[in-house]
Point group: C2
Chain length 199, copies 2
């Protein structure tokens, strides 16, 4: 996605060979028109998959799930990172290790909102080690629903996320794929949006 | 807002005289078309306020900020509840006590994304004791920016949030105002969307 790649290239700040900040337009301050365009792109990529629900994880995936679900005309669900006092009914739970925060936490989805047989599109802002998405895939599996694919805005292709998901048989579509950030210079994997998992 | 009130009435679950769950369509599973309509309504209510930025707090305010900011054609910012490792520059900080979780936490906004002189519309899903919104108002004040108003999807009018905000001179527009939930029966404050703070 040319539009997003240009934003990442010009507004992203490489803090280390593994960390890029895109919080001026993607995940702290957010450009809503760009987000809607990202959602429409995810919707187009998975248009033929009969998606019944979009799934993401709080907080930085929510606006992408919103835009994607709106474009597809289906509800979205966001997994919560901490069980709320008011969330009393049964939930699906998965453990996730955060690379950024160096901690393990639990994510939960109410059983009422993910049903057997649903066709689930998972979306998120960034794919790095992929642990959060693996947790979401686990939850979909617990619900006896099916992951039809994963839509990612920015993939750090030099980390293990894509490999983990592909090994689990999940199709990953990333709109921008960063190949390297060594020496503060960002390079991209070409033709990212067209790359499709061999099934 | 008739549409939202009907959803609250028919799908909201009153768990106690103070707690209503609306997580089937508003803040866990989300109806994106309804959310877009709520965002358009907030945008219309504050159309003449020359809003430059929409502000909310993660996680359940994000999709409403997204929809509102998209309708207004401005960026949105969501305050974070925990400072991320990658968030290294200076931030505005406010302390918030959560009624639901019975804990005090800090919310932060990067100074880069809230500037002096900005005209800020704050939105959130639910107004109860109002502590999170008071924290956001505090952060806007630290930035020497101006709160032009607060847009709330569902206000629990029997709690203190509106009073606190009005005492701080902030205009509150709530699309649905719940007057009482005693004995499991929800009653509404009439003409909620038209109620305007006397200035």
């Amino acid at each position: 996605m040319e539009l997003l790649r240009n934003r990442v290239l010009h507004e992203g700040r490489v803090l280390s060979p593994k960390v890029v900040k895109v919080d001026s337009f993607l995940n702290h301050q957010v450009d809503p028109a760009l987000t809607m365009e990202i959602g429409r792109t995810f919707a187009d990529l998975f248009r033929n998959e009969s998606v019944t629900k979009v799934l993401t994880i709080e907080a930085s995936g929510i606006h992408f799930a919103m835009a994607t679900a709106y474009a597809l005309g289906v509800p979205f669900v966001y997994a919560k990172k901490k069980r709320a006092v008011t969330q009393s009914e049964e939930v699906y739970v998965a453990s996730v290790h955060s690379f950024t925060r160096q901690e393990t936490y639990q994510i939960t989805v109410s059983k009422a909102y993910l049903c057997e047989g649903e066709r689930v599109l998972i979306v998120d802002d960034i794919l790095a080690e992929g642990n959060a998405i693996v947790g979401l895939v686990d939850i979909v599996s617990q619900a006896k629903a099916q992951v039809v694919g994963v839509g990612i805005a920015i993939e750090k292709s030099f980390q293990d996320g894509r490999r983990k998901l592909e090994e689990a048989g999940v199709s990953v579509q990333s709109l921008v794929r960063i190949a390297s950030m060594e020496n503060g210079v960002m390079t991209f994997v070409e033709e990212a949006a067209k790359a499709k998992v061999e099934e």
